[in-house]
Amino acid sequence: MQMTAESKDSAGVASQGGAKREIFLPPDRERLKEGGTPHVVAKNFSIFYGDFEAVKKVNADILSKYVTAIIGPSGCGKSTFLRAINRMNDLIPSCHTTGTLMFEGEDIYGKYTDEVLLRKRIGMVFQKPNPFPKSIFDNIAYGPRLHGVNDKKILAEIVEKSLRKAVLWDEVSDRLDRNALGLSGGQQQRLCVARALAVEPDILLLDEPTSALDPKATAKIEDLIEELRGSYTILIVTHNMQQASRVSDHTMFFYEGDLVEYAPTKHLFTNPRDQVTEDYITGRFS
């Protein structure tokens, strides 16, 4: 709980200081020196379902072009936090937020924020593969078409590029006109990644992308994250701590709505500063 306390303090400083804002919980000073810039910034950010505070006054900077994992026991608010970043929680009528969540200097929950534009820039892949009941091609082309790309040649290019990025091209290039629901679960999930990439987002949110997949497909998704590292800011919620330690640069640990610890992954897993974190990652509770 040390860290939260500290972060609350620094939040206070930030709101008073104004101009010279300190980056909260810099995950890794060395990496920052390498040029990490905050992409999403949470300041005293809370999320409520009705009266229930699901995420409590989170202060965190999510750094650009890194993979950040969010771990924690079930019901700790990690998915809620992730879904808040592209305002997916808007679908839930009782959900509201306090504090601020900034994306590239713009308040995500600001009055004038265009959520359609926001979601175009912050792509998301969900727990269960959810391709549209359409052809593979149409699944990928759906996003670009929405945003006004109608030229068939350009669309074909985008589809190929996205599928290649999602390491799916070789498996489906000969059957782009088939229904996407005919693909295997792992392929469907990579298709969903490709679909998200097709609209060229800046951030990719992955909400337990492998929890419905077998180990082989999981490995492919992890490889895919490896491929995308450095090109996108990636946030991944996962139940699997090995996965978090394998794929992420930084890890956030949520417990009962609190962001308990946020540190470079290797630090967090080898040398957690908080007792709860240690208990969790050593499997004393889950």
């Binding site: 359609v116 979601r119 175009k120 892949v125 969900f126 269960k128 959810n130 009941p133 929405l146 609209v199």
Partner: protein
């Protein structure tokens, strides 16, 4: 490890009942329960099938004879002066028919006998002759033989609905008439033929001239109005309520009221139609237009409720997926939710339309329970609808209307089945695999 495992088994078996024993004990009664439950289910299916079969067979058995009709062959000779040369359509066809009958039965004299004789032939015979003449103008002095409609009493006799061996006072045809008919039979001049009149004519006081076509067309126009109005309105309302409307007291109130409207007795909608559409807006009485609008009011709640259920059943993951790539709310709805919900919406529409097709009560109030002879040509012509026609015929005293009532029910069922078939085909086309 082994030791301890053995120990634990021993301990639990020596104790009072391992779980497996308890399960075994209960197993039999569980299976019995299931068997009983299945038996009840089967029983209810059998019961409903029996009822349905009974209903259908009684309708078919009663009604199939209406598809046949008794015709009598009549030799008509056109003597000089019989036809109006300037305007053949205005000749005295009744007179020509009567002359032909008299020619055939020269021995019948006396007013009453003649009247009895003429009454064996339908008053429609003159119209048949007129049509024949207008089709091909016969030369003077020539003669044609024509199968003309027999009166409904003769028809009933031929179909065996009227007994010949009962005392004269108990049948509608007297002994003389029977003899005349027997002569026709001997000479092969009377026969049952396919009843085209039934499928081409409107209503009539004479059973042999009455047809269902007017009511079929009336129902068709009415249903068309209902569908065209209620489908888009119902779906738009459902989509708005389900996808866009804020959840607050006002929308709750609307929802409760829609559910209540679905349970309102249909005659109330008829009263509303009378007050609003006929009296206030001054729309034409007895027409498919008003009937369709009234039935639309009745159908709307059904469609809205079913459509909302269909929308709710669309998995949220699809909405999320579409929103996740930057769809606007409208794009999510039109691109994904609506196509996926359409089969369910169509089902609701079928149910609503089928209900509307069989409705008479609301139409009572707007004057669609009227005796209408003409086949309607459009939405603003007075028309009857099929259930009303069935009701009217069921109410008529003539024996020949009994079979027509059943036949009309068959036509109504056929109409219903074909309407549903179209909807099922459409639903199949829209249905998608998950």
């Amino acid at each position: 490890m082994n030791k301890s495992a053995g120990k634990s088994v021993a301990r639990s078996s020596s104790g009072r009942g391992r779980t497996i024993d308890i399960v075994n004990k209960g197993l039999k009664s569980r299976y019995r329960k299931e068997k009983r439950f299945r038996f009840y289910g089967l029983l209810s299916i059998v019961a409903s099938v029996v009822f349905l079969a009974f209903l259908l067979s009684s309708i078919v058995l009663k009604g199939y004879s209406a598809f046949l009709q008794t015709y009598i062959k009549l030799d008509v000779s056109f003597e000089a002066g019989m036809l109006d040369k300037q305007n053949p359509g205005r000749s005295d066809f009744q007179g020509i028919v009567k002359a032909a009958i008299r020619d055939y039965y020269p021995d019948v004299t006396g007013r009453q006998d003649k009247r009895d004789l003429f009454s064996l032939f339908s008053s429609g015979a003159a119209f048949q002759l007129r049509e024949e003449v207008l089709n091909k103008l016969p030369e003077e002095g020539s003669s044609i033989s024509l199968w003309v409609l027999a009166d409904d009493d003769v028809d009933m006799l031929m179909k065996g609905h009227m007994k010949r061996d009962v005392p004269e006072g108990e049948r509608r045809l007297n002994d003389k008439q029977l003899r005349w008919i027997e002569r026709l039979e001997e000479e092969g001049r009377i026969a049952l033929r396919f009843n085209t009149t039934f499928f081409t004519a409107g209503d009539s006081r004479e059973p042999e001239l009455a047809g269902i076509w007017g009511a079929v067309k009336g129902s068709f126009y009415t249903m068309l109005v209902t569908l065209v109005l209620s489908f888009p309105i119902g779906i738009a309302a459902a989509v708005y309520l389900e996808e866009f409307a804020p959840k607050n007291l006002a929308t709750d109130f609307i929802e409760v009221n829609i559910n209540n409207l679905a349970a309102v007795p249909s005659i109330v909608f008829g009263l509303l139609g009378l007050a609003v559409f006929l009296n206030f807006f001054g729309m034409p009485r007895s027409t498919p237009l008003v009937g369709g609008i009234v039935l639309m009011l009745m159908t709307l709640p059904t469609i809205i409720i079913a459509s909302r259920a269909a929308l709710k059943a669309v998995p949220p993951s699809i909405r999320e997926a579409a929103l996740g790539v930057g769809s606007s709310k409208l794009q999510v709805v039109t691109g994904h939710v609506l196509p996926l919900a359409l089969p369910g919406m169509l089902t609701g529409t079928i149910i609503g339309m089928a209900q509307a097709l069989g409705e008479t009560a609301p139409l009572l109030m707007i004057g669609m329970v009227a005796f209408i002879v003409d086949v309607p040509g459009g939405f603003t012509d007075p028309a009857a609808v099929m259930p009303v026609q069935i009701y009217l015929w069921a109410d008529s005293p003539e024996r020949a209307f009994v079979e027509r009532t059943s036949a009309a029910i068959m036509v109504l069922l056929a109409f219903l089945i074909s309407m549903n078939a179209v909807a099922v085909v459409m639903r199949r086309r829209f249905e998608r695999r998950w």
